[in-house]
Symmetry: C2
Subunit: 240 residues, 2 copies
């Protein structure tokens, strides 16, 4: 059986906050548990917040902005390695990490205050690794950590949470070469376990209720890896 519990009572997170300590004080964490933390609070703790008043929009940002704030679009462009599709108000971009998502992950919802936007962490795997290390110190337990964000999907309405950073977790479960009960070899079965863990955690994370972390118990996802493994190499990407 799997159990998923939300971490309740976290304060508004500020730059420099010891997020691991704040969580460890509010959750019972055991060896093998997976802690899923919403990107938004990780970014806030890391100070990845931009004040729009400080941003001078470029001509391209003004062109793409339509009726939106061109300063926000400027931040999106700075966070993008490549624009995949732009149809105002929607910009789908590839981030410098290689993730494809709306607005390159730049988001005004749940920002610290009006007029600010939150960026993705510089290196979400490193963010997860730091949380994992600090949780190990605080609890004496081996905790897997996922930094999650809500991504839209091609061809399918709605967002699901996915893993944009991880530590102590196997991102993908590769069943290629294994056999089903009838003996058929599974050729193309690679399961995005870390993304499923992020999606499962979202079920207890209120977007409006301010519950940005959850603990998943009962899944053995221990292993090494990086959320960058989710990025499809350019030459194998059917949808670039």
């Amino acid at each position: 059986m799997i159990e998923i519990t939300s971490v309740e009572g976290l304060p508004e997170i500020r730059p420099g906050d010891d997020l691991a300590a704040l969580i460890a004080g509010r959750a019972e964490l055991r060896d093998g548990d997976v802690l899923v933390v919403a990107q938004k609070v990780v970014s806030k703790a890391e100070g990845r917040v931009v004040r729009l008043a400080d941003v001078e929009p470029s001509d391209e940002a003004r062109r793409l902005a339509g009726e939106q704030d061109p300063r926000r679009i400027e931040v999106v462009l700075r966070e993008s390695a490549r624009i995949v599709r732009a149809r105002p108000p929607l910009i789908i971009a590839e981030t410098r990490h290689g993730f494809v998502c709306a607005s390159a992950g730049v988001d005004a919802s749940n920002a610290p205050e009006p007029g600010t936007v939150v960026l993705l962490p510089e290196d979400p795997d490193a963010s997860a690794a730091l949380l994992r290390e600090r949780l190990g110190e605080l609890t004496g337990s081996e905790i897997g950590v996922i930094v999650s964000d809500s991504f839209g999907r091609a061809w399918r309405r709605g967002t699901t949470d996915v893993a944009i950073g991880l530590a102590g977790i196997r991102p993908l479960l590769d069943l290629q070469g294994e056999r089903d009960p009838v003996g058929y070899e599974l050729h193309a079965t690679v399961i995005a376990v870390a993304d499923e863990l992020a999606a499962a955690a979202e079920l207890v994370l209120g977007k409006t209720a301010g519950t940005p972390a959850a603990v998943i118990r009962g899944v053995d996802a221990r292993g090494e890896g990086s959320a960058r493994e989710f990025v499809i190499p350019e030459e194998r990407d059917l949808f670039r």
Copy 2:
């Protein structure tokens, strides 16, 4: 807290089997629980199995097949409303339901025997509704039902399970117009709750272990709807 439990001990499912009864005999089901059933067993119970020896491949199937069995490709074409991308051995197709996935959901893994392939249910929402109705008769409880399948994603390696059919479940949670704790209005937040439930259930469904159903307790996803709501209308689809 959410609990996810696998339904253990199901036999190999055959056409005409009373899947709801087989599950109700092996799971404790309560009001508000969500039962997630892998498409494969639903299709088997509904007889959605094709013997490749009975299939005559078309010229197009032979052309697309490359080194694969052209009869399987013929079945894929018959199940497709539109081919989205074809790069052998991969065919990404839109099914007649409007879902975009590999091989239009036609799959040889976990098929009843070698030389057969399993199709998606004709109408997965109807399949879910029938299971829900029958479970209501058997248990006296209101059970939400999701028929799930493993779909690949654009730009992201690995599959996650999604809802291709549902009953008694709200597929999408629309937070547009609600406000975050700072008062920012959430403009574009529509959460694909049923897909997240399917993904969460996959964490206990062994692809090779023959565990095709799971019960999720503790999520209030009750509501009306159809998995067809996940289909993005053609005019709003950035990635057609």
